[in-house]
Symmetry: C2
Subunit: 501 residues, 2 copies
């Protein structure tokens, strides 16, 4: 990328990336530090930056620079990837008419408020009209993206997970949902009640913070190139590989949310810190997709953080952090960390049931986008789907159709990336084991670098050079499959509940 054309693309793209970074910092600040009185002024700053980024992303100069880079790339895979990613974002932005973009911004900002009110009042009716309008505009957006031909839901999915389609996601769920549904029902029928007391007690937040920072540091998260703050909902936000920010929250009666939460966010953070610095501010400098991002957080949270090997080490730091907490056996902690219980709320779901929550949303939103389900039918369809997949039925809209923020933001096509993340995590973990042998025994010494180094090499350092599918295939030697994940959850159900399905 040393040519004039490449330099021109990088200069233009660098400005778009810089504006994105400024917006990311504004967003981070809004969730962590902004005083309440700053909200109104903040909204206009965000809108101005979005408008400028859109203008730059759709500019003819950028289109020319992309053409030039593609023309001269020949067989150079990096040049081709730069042109591909830049074109992808340029075209997506250019296809949305300005009127539609503005209508979506206005409607979703209104819908966010009515969603919050509806949820607080447990009344779907409060959200109904705004949601209907969001769906209408989202369909319009999908039509614009597909030029009125092709599958609109594909266009929505592609925004978060380049290259996936409704059909490929449906295929994944076909291999996953029946097996999970059967497992969950078998666990419910087993009558086994797991003792969760090893994870419960009194855990002062200051001690939880120290423990969490200690664990994230051991994982390899570099606090000289990152930080952690409190927020209502945990997230990871990156300015650049040298400035990656995590957030968390605590439950003073249960240390699992903070500890596993920080491992989850630090997993995202390790990916961001491991992105190639030499590609920063270029079209392929960022993370490849939401699904692959989620694979990194889930891998550290669930496959490392809940493992027996991790706990063989963690038992000491936990004892040190909470000296009044009764001693526990590693196996008992393992059991408390692998409770399986059908529940109504996605964000509280365990590893085994989690993807059933996503399966439900995928089924519902593809029908919504297709027009097979109306907004008025939505609450009942939601409840029926839960009963079908999880064997339980919401008794209120707040515990059902109103629980997620995503649709109020127009984020249709986002949910499947959570399941993709879970599947990729297991597939990567299995591939690492096949290649490295027993890296888990190092966990017992608080040593995670063999695993991290492997992830750096197979995932992080590539940025968005490959499409997600290709990245997974190259990293693991196989196309994405539900099998490694199913093997993992079957083991949980067998070890903890004595059930197979």
């Amino acid at each position: 990328m040393g040519s004039d054309a490449a330099q021109r693309l990088n200069d233009l793209w660098g400005e778009v990336a810089d504006i994105g970074t400024a917006a990311a910092l504004l967003g981070w600040d809004q969730e962590t530090h902004m005083p309440a009185g700053g909200a109104a002024g903040r909204a206009s700053v965000m809108a101005t930056l979005a408008g400028i980024a859109h203008a730059k992303l759709t500019s003819p100069e950028l289109a020319d620079a992309i053409d030039a880079v593609e023309d001269e790339a020949g067989d150079d895979p990096v040049g081709l990837a730069q042109a591909r990613e830049a074109r992808r974002e340029h075209e997506r932005a250019a296809k949305i008419p300005e009127d539609l973009a503005r209508a979506l911004a206005e409607t979703t900002s209104r819908a966010l408020v009515s969603w919050q009110n509806a949820r607080a009042a447990d009344d779907f009716g409060v959200f109904r009209d705004d949601l209907a309008e969001v769906i209408r505009l989202t369909r319009e957006r999908a039509d614009a993206l597909t030029d009125g031909a092709g599958n609109p839901y594909d266009a929505l999915l592609d925004e978060y997970e380049p290259g996936i389609t409704e059909q490929s996601v449906a295929q994944l769920f076909e291999g996953l949902t029946p097996a999970l549904s059967a497992l969950v029902k078998a666990v419910a029928a087993s009558g086994v009640a797991v003792d969760e007391s090893p994870a419960r007690g009194e855990f002062p937040s200051a001690r939880q913070m120290e423990l969490g920072i200690d664990v994230a540091t051991k994982m390899g998260f570099d606090f000289d190139s990152g930080r952690i703050d409190k927020s209502a909902h945990p997230f990871c936000s990156s300015m650049n590989p040298g400035d990656v920010r995590l957030t968390w929250r605590w439950d003073e009666t249960d240390f699992r949310p903070a500890l596993l939460g920080v491992m989850h966010e630090a997993g995202h953070g390790l990916y961001e810190q491991g992105l190639p610095p030499e590609l920063a501010r270029t079209p392929i400098g960022g993370a490849v997709s939401l699904g692959v991002h989620e694979s990194q957080s889930r891998l550290w949270e669930n496959l490392v953080g809940r493992s027996r090997a991790f706990w063989s080490w963690a038992v000491d730091p936990v004892r040190h952090a909470f000296p009044d907490h009764p001693p526990f056996a590693v196996e008992d902690m393992w059991r408390a960390l692998h409770v399986v219980r059908p529940s109504l709320i996605r964000v509280e779901a365990d590893e085994v049931t989690y993807n059933l929550h996503i399966a439900a949303r995928f089924e519902i939103e593809r029908r919504l986008v297709r027009g097979d389900v109306t907004v008025d039918e939505l609450p009942a369809v939601w409840d029926d789907t839960y009963e079908d997949l999880l064997g339980i039925r919401p008794q209120s809209a707040a515990d059902g159709v109103l629980q997620d923020i995503h649709w109020s933001m127009g984020a249709f096509g986002y949910f499947p990336t959570y399941t993709i993340g879970n599947l990729v995590a297991s597939q990567l973990y299995e591939a690492a084991r096949a290649e490295l042998g027993d890296f888990e025994s190092a966990f017992e010494e608080g040593e995670f670098s063999p695993l991290l180094d492997w992830l750096r090499d197979r995932v992080h350092r590539h940025g968005s050079r490959y499409l997600p599918d290709e990245l997974v295939d190259r990293a693991t030697g196989h196309p994405l499959s539900p099998e490694p994940f199913l093997t993992h959850v079957r083991r949980i159900c067998e070890d903890n509940y004595g059930v197979t399905a």
Copy 2:
């Protein structure tokens, strides 16, 4: 401002203001929260935003909108003020060629580093070449601003304090410097040593924080529309009147820096929180000048925070915050807060000597800009000037010419605004007393709203509708004068040292 032209100007200006707000947040974050690894990436984001703001500020659309607003303003003072302020900034930006702006940005960013190194090594030679280049480019900038005619230093001063000139500043110092110099020498000769023990001891930072927040709240600073964080150098940064951010630092052996520091920054913050919300994002929505800004901080720090009336109230909260600190009489605290001592370092200077530090800088930089002093002569000229004005001579460059960051940033013409701030503060305070009577007795009850309300009415609510001179004249009934300030410091010297001069 309801016309089409006014709307167009506000739309265009709003974008410039929004970019400025994003940059302000990035700057705040850099000093308070950014991890070390974020520095490199942050610089490019700042440069991109600066470039975009410059392009928008110099655009022909904006120039047209300004013309249109001016044309139709007729006698409407608000419309005329909007056009005046917008044109001022538009023309300043348009007059600086892009090459020069880039050269200045590059040179000052290099000079900042060499200044830091020079200061650490106590070696002016390390800074010499970069400073020479900054001065050369600054002269070029001043010539561009004056179109090669007129006084270049006037053009530099005008950036920070619209309307002031080298001559008007020189006149202020003529009325100020000899009197201060005589006072300081008389104090030094008095042989009186003030007991500072009431302010010294052990003051845990957590308690200092609680006390500082309590005092700022009493002053009227609204923490729902603001916050406070730690930083190496205290400052106030505002996103909008609903989001105003203060910073501070502590000395655990002396509570004065934190307490008076927070009153200083909260004074700035009250001005920002009191700016007219209906003028936000318009050309006259911001603070009028650095000098008037500094008047607000100095007024609260020095005229309120060091007053006997304030301490009649503060003695209790201080006792509560530091129960181990020995009880003190209000008069003894007053004395400890009014120590006068010629010193080499500006930022540690007391109220009486402070403006002599500024007088020195003003004399030196006007000669530098005029070309009467060369960079190589600078260290000796600095030391001579200090000996002349303060009666003491720096023994090292670090304690002399290298102490301030300003020149490394190309901020020539900035220093005088500190003195203007001190003078305006005293003049406002005297005018408030003449009008309101004894508002200080309310301080004894921890009640500051009569004073704040008066400042809101006379200063804050006007934004930049008036030029600084006019604002001061309208607020106090008189043009700016050194007399109220001199009356104030003469009283200090007489009460604490028994000297008159």
